[in-house]
């Protein structure tokens, strides 16, 4: 299959330009964030797969009209980050979830809201970050692996038993235990937020 019936060479050049422009950033970030979990080879796989998915899903990339090159670069890289995170979480969750989210993991970029509140990190997010530091390594890992499971665009917000079983196998424990660890971690975060939130006057 050619990339472009009329001008495959131009499409290939566009692809190479896109790849070269973002490879350094994506590789650096993936190495920083994923290498402890995936190792160097795993990082390379995620980087490569991310570009492959981006290539396959380039049609879902929507950029609002702007002449601000920096803004577009941030947006493109954010989109690549989103794809990489889905791939990474799929790897952590194991084969069942990977198969399930084959289409979800390359979901289109959400409608552009202009990221109006992007720089305004809510107090709760700040407190959650602080609270994460108080959790055990295992609790943090379970939260990380189960992150993004509750998405507003999903019909079923709960983690299915099948997915949970796959994850339990991955973590060498039981599904019940995973749910308990997650619940305990969330409760700890809640307690932390309650005890550190200033009462409104």
């Amino acid at each position: 299959m050619s990339l472009r019936g009329e001008d495959p060479k131009a499409a290939e050049e566009a692809w190479a330009e896109f790849y070269n422009r973002h490879l350094g950033y994506l590789f650096g970030q993936c190495k920083k964030v994923y290498s402890a979990t995936l190792g160097d080879l795993g990082v390379s796989d995620v980087v490569q797969d991310t570009f492959v998915r981006a290539f396959e899903r380039a049609g879902t990339f929507k950029s609002r009209p702007t002449t601000d090159n920096d803004a577009i670069r941030y947006r493109v890289r954010g989109w690549l980050g989103k794809i990489a995170n889905r791939l990474f979480l799929d790897i952590l969750r194991g084969p069942v979830e990977r198969g399930l989210s084959e289409t979800e993991s390359i979901a289109p970029l959400p409608a552009d809201d202009g990221n109006a509140n992007d720089d305004c990190v809510s107090l709760r997010v700040k407190l959650i970050r602080d609270a994460l530091a108080t959790l055990s390594e295992r609790e943090r890992h379970v939260l990380r692996v189960t992150a993004d499971w509750h998405r507003s665009d999903r019909v079923h917000q709960r983690i299915s038993n099948k997915d949970m079983s796959a994850l339990a196998q991955q973590l060498q424990t039981t599904a019940v235990n995973i749910r308990q660890i997650r619940k305990r971690a969330i409760d700890k975060i809640d307690d932390y937020i309650k005890s550190h939130k200033r009462p409104s006057k």
């Binding site: 566009a14 692809w15 422009r21 490879l23 390379s44 396959e56 929507k62 970050r129 939260l143």
Partner: protein
């Protein structure tokens, strides 16, 4: 014996909490940046380490795309004009597209669609 706490959050609150948690994990560096602000901050990081040789040639990745036709089956044909158009746009990254080029692209796209759907119908 301590009884498990009941979750009193409604579904909307639960989703908002999970989104905040997901964002906190990204800001903590446990996941990659996804928003413009996060990417801006991440770019300021001085990350060292060049990509390995195996990743440096985009054509190698392209070959991989072509050698795995099953990957594209769920994503639709790669030859979609819209995809190519967006790839090219993404590659240009804000390079200004003159109106005449924009019109030309639109004509190409419509012609390709006519050709594709005309042949199918």
């Amino acid at each position: 014996m301590k009884r498990p706490r009941q979750d009193t959050r409604d579904e909307k609150e639960q989703i908002q909490f999970e989104q905040d948690l997901y964002r906190a994990l990204r800001l903590e560096g446990l996941l990659l940046p996804e928003t413009e602000g996060e990417v801006r901050a991440a770019e300021a990081d001085d990350l060292c380490g060049a990509p390995p040789l195996a990743l440096r040639d985009p054509r190698t990745v392209l070959k991989r795309v072509r050698s795995k036709p099953h990957r594209t089956s769920s994503a639709g044909p790669v030859a979609s004009p819209e995809i190519e158009d967006n790839l090219a746009r993404a590659a240009r990254e804000g390079g200004k597209i003159p109106p005449e080029v924009e019109r030309e692209m639109q004509r190409d796209r419509e012609a390709a669609e006519r050709k594709k759907y005309g042949n199918e119908g």
